[in-house]
Amino acid sequence: MNTRQNKLAMLVLNNASLLLFAGVLTVFAAQSPQFLTGTNFANIIVQSSSTAIVAIGMTFVLLTAGVDLSVGAIMFVAAAVAGKMVTGNAPIWPALLVILVIGVVLGGVNAFFITRLKVAAFVVTLATLYLGRGFALWLTETRAINLPPGFLVLGTDRWLGLPLPIWILALVLGVAHLVLTRTPFGRQVYAVGQDVEAARKAGIATGRIFAAVYVISGFCAAVGGILSLAQLGAVSPTFGTNKEFSAIAAAVLGGTSLFGGRGKVFPGTVMGAVLIQTIENGLVILNVNPYFYPLLTSAIIFVAVLIDSLRASLLAKWNRRWIRVEEDLISNRS
C-alpha cells in the first residue's frame, strides 16, 4: 500500500474524463478524415451548446450533493411560453426576458420545497418535471409551434465569424466559472457540498446556498431552452425530453462528483457536454445505427459514476486517522 502507487491511481481517477476524451478523438479521427476538420468541431460545439449551458446549471446543484430532474421541463415551459408570445407577434427581446424569469421562478419553486420544507431534492424535481411538462403541453395543446425566422437568427446567425450559440455559451461559462472560483458565494457552495455541518459551524447560511443553486439551475435551463429553440425552429411536444440525463451525464463526465464538493465548470462540465456530442457526431459519420446512441451514452455515464464512487471510497480509506505515526509509517509517508 505504498503511497506512490496510490498517488498514480488518484491521478488517473481525477482526470479520467480527459483520458476518455483523448481516446474518443483518436478513435474517430482514425476512422474518417472529415472528423478533425474545423467546421466539424464548430458544428459539434454549436450542437452541444444548449446541453452544456444546462449542464453548467446542473453542476451548481451537483456540487451541493443535490439533483435537478426538472431542467428538461423548465426548458419546455420556457420555450412554450416564448413560442406563444412570438407567434402572437410580441417582439423577441421581451420574450427572451420572460423565458429567463420563468427559469428563475421555477428554480425558486424547487428551492422552496427542498430548502424550506426539507423534501428530498429528487422527488421535488421529479414532481416539478411532470408539473412543468403538463403545463407546457396544456399551453401548446400538444401542438408544435413553428417560430418565425426572426427567432431563428439566434441559432444560425454569426458574429465576428463565430456562430451566436458559441458566444452565448462562452458568456454563461465565463460568468459561471467566475462565480464558482472567484466569489465568496462560489467558494461557499464548495464548502457546503463538502460538509454541511462544518459549513454551518463556519458561519455559512447553508439554507440560502441550497436555494440559490436551484434558482441558478432553473436560469441555465431557460437559457439552454432559448438556444435549443433557436436551433430547432419549433416547439414540439417532445421538446427538452431527457435533457436532464444529458446534463447530469455532461457534469459527471466532466469530473463533478455526485457526493458533492467536487467539480469544475471549466474545463470539466463543458468538456463533458462536448464529449457526448463528439461521440454522437462521430457515430453519425461512421453511420452507426442511430438507435445505438442511448446505449453508448448511458454506458459512459455509468463508467464515469463508477470512477467517481471508486475515488470517493479510496479517499475515505486514506483519510482515516493514523494511530501509529512513528517508525513504520515514516517510510510510507515520504
Binding site: 450542437q47 425558486g108 422552496f112 408544435a144 413553428n146 458561519g203 436551433q231 457526431n281 453519425v284
Partner: protein, 371 residues
C-alpha cells in the same frame, strides 16, 4: 401555514446572522423574506388547484348534455398525438365536419402511449358513444381496441393509419403512401434530370413502427431505383418523427457528404429542421437558382405551402384530409344504418409542385391553415 413561515424566517435571520456588520443584516433578511413571500402564493395555487378541480368539471359536464331534436349522435375521436400540423388540421377538420352534421364529438389525446389510448377508448365505450374514430399509435397495438369496439358493437373507423391484418373488423381510411410518394419523387427526379448532373440524395425516414412511414420509404426507394443515373442515395436519416433527432441527423449527414443536393422528407413537419441546416451551410437557394438543393416532402402542411409560394420547395405529396374526414364519418353513419362498408377506403391524394401550385392550392389543407 403562512405565519409559521414568517416567524421562522425572522428567527432564521438571527440564528444565521452572518459575521457582517450590523448595518447589512436587516437588508439580507429583507431579501430572504421577499424570497419566501413571493413563493407563498405559488404554494397556495398548487393547493387550490387540487381543491377547485372537481367543482371546475361540474360546469363542463352539464353544459354538454343539452342538445335538441332527435337523439344527437356522439362520436369519440382518439388521436395518438397532435405532434404535427397534419394531426392538428385533421382534428380541426373532424370538429368542423361533426358541427356540420350536428354530431357531438368527444376527443382524447394519448400523447404517444398505446396503453393510455386503450384506456381512453374503453372510457368512450363505457360512455356508450355511437361511433369511434381512431388514429392508432401503431398497427399492432390497436387490434385489442378494435376488438373491444366490435364487442360493444360500436362502429370503429381508423383514420390515416391501417391496422395489422387480424380478425378484428374495422374500416380504415388511408392515403396511398407508397404511390403518392413515388409520384412526388418521380416529379423531383424529372426536375433534377434537367440539370444533367448526378445528385447525391438524403432521405428522412419516419418512425419504423408506423406503416405510413414504411410505405413512404418504399415509395421513395421505388422512384429512385428507376433513375440510378440521376440520383444516388448516400444518407438515410431515421427521425422517429422527432425534430431534434432529424435536425442532428441532417446536419451530421451534411458533414459526412457536404455535396448532397437532393432531399426528401417523409413528413413536412421536419422541413424547419432541414431549412435551418441548409441556412447554416448557406445552401438554402430558390428553385432554378444555381446550387439549388432539390426539396421534396409529404403531407402538404402550412410550412410546405409557404415554401412552395416562396419558391424553395420543389414538390410535396398532399393527403386530401377533407376527403378522408368525410369518408370516416360517412362510414360510421353507413355502418350504424347497417349498410355494407368496405374495409379500406384509399385517398389518392395529389402531388403539388411549382407547376400546378395555383390550381391545386385550395384543395391543399396546409394552404388554409392560419400560420
Amino acid at each position: 401555514m403562512k405565519n409559521i413561515q414568517i416567524e421562522s424566517t425572522s428567527q432564521h435571520c438571527e440564528r444565521d446572522g452572518l459575521l457582517s456588520r450590523k448595518a447589512r443584516r436587516p437588508l439580507q433578511c429583507l431579501y430572504w423574506k421577499m424570497f419566501c413571500w413571493c413563493f407563498a402564493p405559488i404554494w397556495m395555487l398548487a393547493a387550490g388547484l387540487l381543491l377547485l378541480l372537481p367543482m371546475g368539471c361540474k360546469k363542463a359536464q352539464n353544459s354538454g348534455s343539452g342538445g335538441s331534436g332527435e337523439p344527437q349522435l356522439t362520436i369519440g375521436v382518439s388521436f395518438e398525438t397532435l405532434q404535427t400540423g397534419f394531426w392538428v388540421a385533421s382534428l380541426d377538420a373532424f370538429k368542423a365536419e361533426c358541427a356540420k352534421r350536428n354530431i357531438k364529438m368527444i376527443q382524447a389525446i394519448a400523447d404517444g402511449d398505446a396503453n393510455r389510448q386503450i384506456e381512453q377508448v374503453k372510457n368512450f365505450i363505457t360512455r356508450k358513444v355511437d361511433g369511434i374514430v381512431l388514429v392508432p399509435k401503431d398497427a399492432k397495438a390497436c387490434i385489442p381496441i378494435i376488438k373491444a369496439a366490435n364487442a360493444a358493437n360500436i362502429p370503429i373507423v381508423l383514420f390515416n393509419r391501417p391496422p395489422d391484418k387480424s380478425d378484428a373488423k374495422s374500416v380504415a381510411v388511408v392515403a396511398d403512401n407508397f404511390a403518392l410518394t413515388r409520384e412526388t419523387v418521380k416529379y423531383m427526379i424529372g426536375e433534377a434530370r434537367k440539370t444533367g448532373k448526378k445528385h447525391k440524395a438524403m432521405v428522412l425516414i419516419g418512425d419504423l413502427g408506423d406503416i405510413n412511414a414504411i410505405g413512404r420509404r418504399d415509395g421513395f426507394d421505388a422512384a429512385v431505383k428507376e433513375a440510378p443515373d440521376v440520383v444516388e442515395v448516400v444518407a438515410r436519416v431515421p427521425t422517429e418523427w422527432n425534430q431534434e433527432k432529424a435536425q442532428a441527423g441532417v446536419v451530421n449527414a451534411f458533414q459526412a457528404n457536404p455535396d448532397i443536393s437532393f432531399i426528401f422528407t417523409s413528413s413536412d413537419f421536419l422541413l424547419p429542421s432541414i431549412v435551418s441546416a441548409l441556412k447554416a451551410t448557406g445552401k438554402y437557394k430558390k428553385v432554378g437558382e444555381p446550387g439549388h438543393v432539390f426539396l421534396g416532402g409529404f403531407d402538404g402542411d402550412a410550412t410546405a405551402y409557404q415554401m412552395l409560394k416562396d419558391g424553395y420547395l420543389d414538390a410535396t405529396g398532399v393527403q386530401d384530409v377533407y376527403f378522408e374526414v368525410e369518408a370516416c364519418l360517412q362510414a360510421i353513419l353507413d355502418a350504424r344504418a347497417g349498410r355494407p362498408v368496405p374495409e379500406t377506403i384509399t385517398d389518392a391524394g395529389f402531388v403539388i409542385h411549382q407547376g400546378n401550385l395555383k390550381e391545386k392550392a385550395p384543395r391543399m389543407w396546409g394552404a388554409n391553415v392560419k400560420q
